[in-house]
Structure formats: C-alpha cells, structure tokens
C-alpha cells in the first residue's frame, strides 16, 4: 500500500536505465570501505551519469552528479548519500597464515563470528572468521561474546601463499550477496547508505520528467562512517543553497523502543531538530502530504550523526534537512529495508527539488 506512489515504474525504468533494485544490488555487492570507495564509486559514477548532465569527482573521492535546472541564477540543491561502508582491516599475518584485523567504522564484534569474508589483497580471497566448535567449549567460554582481538581470518592457505597475496593494511568486507526477501524487502551489507544513493538516482530519473529551476548536485559521499568527511569537503566545494542528507534510520524491530525506530515500508522518515532547517522540514512534509507519500517523523534534539550535521556548518552555514530510509539491523551484513521506501524517498526528493525557486531559497534566511 505504501508503495503505490513511489512504486511507479512506468517509462523511467525501461530503455537501458538501471532499475533501482538492480542498481542497489550492484552497489552493495561492490566494495567501498571508508577511505577506499573507488570500486563502488565507479559503478555509481557510471549509473548516475545516465541520469545527470555531468559527473565529476573530487580529491577525496566524492562522486558528484549534476543535473542542471532551467533558466538563470539557479539555486543549488545538494543531495548527499554516503557510499562508504564499514569494514575490517588486516593488522597482522600470524603464523600459519591466519590474519588478525581491526575495524573501520562501528562494527559490532558479535556480528563477525562464523562469517565469510572477502579479503581485498592483490587479488580477492575468501576467508572465514571461525570459532571453536561447541564440542570443545567450556561453559564459561560459551557465555561471553568473542572479542575481535581474539578472532582470526582463516584463508585456508599456507603462510607463504597468504603473504604473496595479502599485506597488512588490506581491507576486508563481509562476503554477502544481495538477498531478495518476500514482498519488496531486501537484505545485504552496505545498504547503509547505498540505498540512499539509489534514492538519489531515482530522484534524478523523476526529475527528467519534471521542470525544475534548481541545479541538483547528487553527491555520493566518502568517509561518512569515520566522520562525515566527504560531505564536509563536497559541500564546501559546491556551496549549495540547500543541503539534504539521505541516510538510514533504525527500522522497527523487537527489543528496541518504538520511539527510536521507524516502520519499514511506510515511506521516508523526516528528521526534525536543530540540524534541520524548519522551512525545509515544512516543505518536505507538505509535499509528502500533497502527493500522498506516507512518512514518519524522527525528532532529533542533538547531532544527527549524518552528513547533514557537517553540511550545516560548512562555510557561512547551509540550510539542511535529513531524509531517512528505515532499515533494520544497521551495521550488520544483513541490513534489511523496503525497496518501495527507496523509491518514495527518491520521489519526495524530486518533488522537493522541483519546488525550489530563488524566492524559497531567500526565505530560508528569514528567521
């Protein structure tokens, strides 16, 4: 039901343009740990290129797709979705070729146990983060979470073979294919925040059929998971009149208070609070209501922990908003969300961009 509006897939998904789900699958199965986003960045560059007027990059690796509006003196709207993912990094090659590792970004050590990984060395190797079998465990051992420092990656290779292919500093990701669940739900690693990149793509495709005066910069940002650094430099560089971060928020699930989550499949989640310009929130929510796009609210009193937080204080200040995709099991390798929500977010962003004119932008300074 909630997908009625955003699920429209008429003209825009035919004719060689990559479907939202297909694009998402390609992105999440690619690698792009914070600081090393090239591989996923190339896919994004190629696909956003089909929907934008031009695609550029910057020194840190941000991918910036520009779709120009009509007329002169055009306002600039920047959309920011981060393309980096959390991951692991090799810290030592042990005797017999086992690898020790540390984490990049917020990794829950408990989600690493008995996981298949990809070690990105001279060539990609599959490994296993194994554990002692239950037959050999003492009861005390079984009652404590295994610490990351006690884990090793097993490549099933001899030490010389490992040393020939792998070096300290090599990156590691979970070996997880995109999983289609029932209905329009899907699970994978790195849905945080490549689902939001897919939403930007959907937005650009929608805008092809709409009239808009604003220039839209759809930016796939780097290094969000280690401190929103890509958004910092790209917003400085673009100097937008409006910045909207698209990120994920916690989807409803057992064991988590309802007030900390948003339901899946019920549309975008709009943040409210100091990080969000009131007039942007107002415009987004009005448009959603007007176009029957369901949405939920997330009151955030302090830091949003997203690209919006750093964009807001770039240069002399940028009016910012945050639109989120509800997602369950954040920072695991089975992050789960609704494809319909991605499209609804993309649709809302397009409606927003189309609604922006010079007058609206100037009004943002009038408190």
């Amino acid at each position: 039901m909630s997908n009625r509006d955003g699920g429209r897939s008429d003209a825009q998904e035919g004719g060689g343009i990559l479907d939202t789900k297909e694009f998402l699958k390609r992105m999440v199965e690619a690698t792009g740990v914070s600081g090393y986003e090239d591989s996923v960045g190339n896919i994004i560059r190629e696909v956003l290129g089909t929907a934008a007027d031009e695609v550029t990059g910057d020194t840190l690796g941000n991918v910036i797709a520009l779709k120009r509006g009509e007329g002169e003196n055009r306002p600039k709207v920047m959309l920011a979705s981060h393309m980096d993912e959390i991951g692991l990094m090799v810290t030592k090659i042990e005797e017999k070729g086992f690898l020790r590792f540390t984490s990049i970004g917020g990794v829950d050590q408990r989600t690493l146990v008995a996981q298949e990984v990809r070690v990105h060395g001279r060539r990609d190797l599959i490994g296993i983060i194994g554990m002692k079998p239950p037959h050999l465990l003492t009861p005390e051992e079984g009652n404590a979470a295994i610490k990351m420092q006690d884990m090793v990656i097993d490549l099933g290779l001899t030490e010389p073979e490992v040393k020939e292919a792998i070096a300290v500093g090599d990156l590691v990701t979970i070996n997880r294919n995109f999983i289609s669940l029932s209905g329009d739900f899907a699970a994978a690693k790195a849905m945080d925040d490549r689902a939001a990149v897919a939403a930007m793509h959907y937005c650009l495709l929608e805008l092809k059929r709409m009239r808009h005066t604003a220039d839209v910069y759809a930016v796939a940002t780097v290094q969000e998971e280690v401190g929103a650094r890509g958004a910092l430099v790209s917003s400085y560089h673009i100097m937008p009149d409006i910045g909207i971060a698209i990120d994920v928020c916690h989807g409803e699930m057992p064991g988590v208070p309802e007030q900390d989550t948003a339901p899946l499949g019920k549309g975008p989640n709009l943040a409210l609070g100091a990080n969000i310009h009131p007039k942007l929130f107002e415009r987004l929510s009005e448009l959603a209501r007007e176009h029957n796009i369901p949405f939920t609210l997330d009151p955030v009193p302090g830091p949003t922990g997203t690209d919006a937080w750093v964009m807001q204080v770039t240069r002399s200040g940028i009016p910012t908003a945050l639109v989120s995709l509800p997602l369950r099991y954040m920072h695991t390798s089975v992050e789960t969300l609704s494809i319909g929500d991605i499209k609804l977010v993309g649709r809302l962003l397009a409606l927003f961009v189309a609604s922006v004119d010079r007058e609206f932008v100037e009004g943002l300074l009038c408190y």
């Binding site: 079998p133 006690d150 369950r328 099991y329």
Partner: protein, 339 residues
Amino acid sequence: MLLKRLSEAFGPSGSEGEVRDILVKELANVVPSWQRDALGNLIALKPGARGPKVMLAAHMDECGLMISSIDKSGLLRFRKVGGLDDRVLVSKHVVVGSKRVAGVIGAKAIHLQKPEERNQVIPLSGLYIDIGAKSKEEAEKLVKLGDYAVFATEFGHLSDTVVKGKSFDDRAGCAVLAEVLSEDYAFTLYGAFTVQEEIGLRGAGVAAYALEPDMAIVLEGTTCNDLPGSEEHGYCTSLGGGPAITVMDASVVCDRRMIAELERLARENDIPVQFKRSITGGSDAGRINQTKAGIPVVVVSVPCRYIHSPVSMLSLKDFEATIKLVKLFLRSIEGGFLL
C-alpha cells in the same frame, strides 16, 4: 562435485529427504538395492559371497533451526536443531522450509546498544528470522510452524585443495561413503546414511540393530581447532594432517584391533593419519557399538574447521586420503582381516 551438492542440500535432523534423494540418484548405478526404515535411514545393500558383514555409517543430518512461532509483525521465532552455538547465528542468511524462503537473522544496531551489551552473547530469545513479511498473515503464506531452516551457504574453493561449505559434518562423511560404495567387495557391505545424529545419535542404533553387522566404521567430518590461541593438545585434529582416527569419544571406546589395522595400512601406504585429540562429543559409533550384544567399531574422520557453524572448511587432501584409507581397510577385510 558430490560434496558440493551434499553440502548445499537442505537436511536438518528430522528432515533429511533432500540428502537422501541426492544419494539415491548419485549411487543408482553402483548400489543394487536400498533398505529404508521407519526413521528415514537410507542403507545401501551390497551383498557379498564370503567374509564378515561390514557396516559403514555417515549421518545425513545437519544442525539447523526450526520455526516455533510467528510474531504479529511477521518475524519468525525459532528453536535450534542440534548443537549450535547461539553466537554463530547473528547476521546470517538462512533459508526456511524446503521451498527455501530467504530470511536473515539480524541484530540490534550497534548504535542502540549499551557498551556492556557488546560483550554479552545475544540470547536466543532475542533472535528471530526476518523473511520480509509485514504481518503474521503474510508470513503464514510462506512459512508454517515446524518448518526447518538452514544456513544459505554456498560451497566454494579457497584454494585447489581447501574448500568451504556448510555441514561438512557430516556431508563429508556421506561423500566418503558414497565414493567407497562405488567399488565392489567380496563381503557383504552395508552403507548406512543415517538420520538424526545431531539430536542424539538416533538413526545409527536403529540401523545397526536391523543390519547386525560384524563390525562397523563410522565416517565423520570432525572437529578441527588448530587455530591461534589454542594449545596444540587442544587442536583435536589438524587441517591437512590426514584422516583422523578416534580412539575414544564421549560415546565410545573404539576397537583397538581395527585402529591398529588402520595405522598399519596408513604406514605401509604412506597415508598421513592423526588421532583425534579430544574425547568430548559423541558419534554414531557409540550407538552402533552398544547395539544388541555389542559391535566393534572405529571412527575415521575428515578434519573440518568450524563445524556446527554456517561455514566449515576442509582439505581435499584429507578427504581423498580418508577415502583411500577406508578402501584399503575394506580390501584388508577381503584379504582376511578378521576380529
């Protein structure tokens, strides 16, 4: 590759049908007749003219999950089938039911955890399978109470000689047994693919009772913990160290004469062997050994790292050597080895 097909088959204890079907099809040309029983054991009968009756046994079942309730939200609660460590369940891809409905076992985001939670094991009561259903009614269209679930793990090569996959315990044993059955022997050979090992060694005893063999060899994929942080004596077995012979485990003391013969054959044929250096955990050998008036048994295993988890690892060299050693042992029986 048979090991790949067996590894990827759906067969938790009590639901071994898919494994059974693969074996019957695979061995159609080499097994003259099959015997089945009330529990679902599948026994290849290869009658011979002379000598003892020998039983080989490998269990078809694997550890898994069973759906125990469906929440209003459409999430599935489950119980464990066999000895799974709760800690291996988090952040995994599973398939539910024989139609293989895709699901994931998630966990609360790290952002929402208290620091101390990160050092605690997530209890089973806090885990569930998410198939993407938005309500109980929607979930019920795809899943029923009592449906089993297993990990969705693909078999693959890590190198020319090392492979990964789920449930090498005991699909590796099944694959060894299948290979051994492809040859003919002068004595009567029973190849028992047993059920329900993981929930209490249930199938093997029943099969042994019906077959009443003179001796039995149990083929296993067994514990291998030769990892950093473990003392050598705690390895149990080592990967690449050759077939592992069990002297005793929690369920059985193996027949000394059979062990000695295996050792001799290995030595004379340059097959590396190792002894399993742990006595914890039981095996089908225990049940067979204590059937009727007692049956001499021995266990020969392929060392497998990370058994009872979503993905295990074995060395094809160990696997091939296990096949070779078991075949040599059978030829030795043919040549007059008796107990």
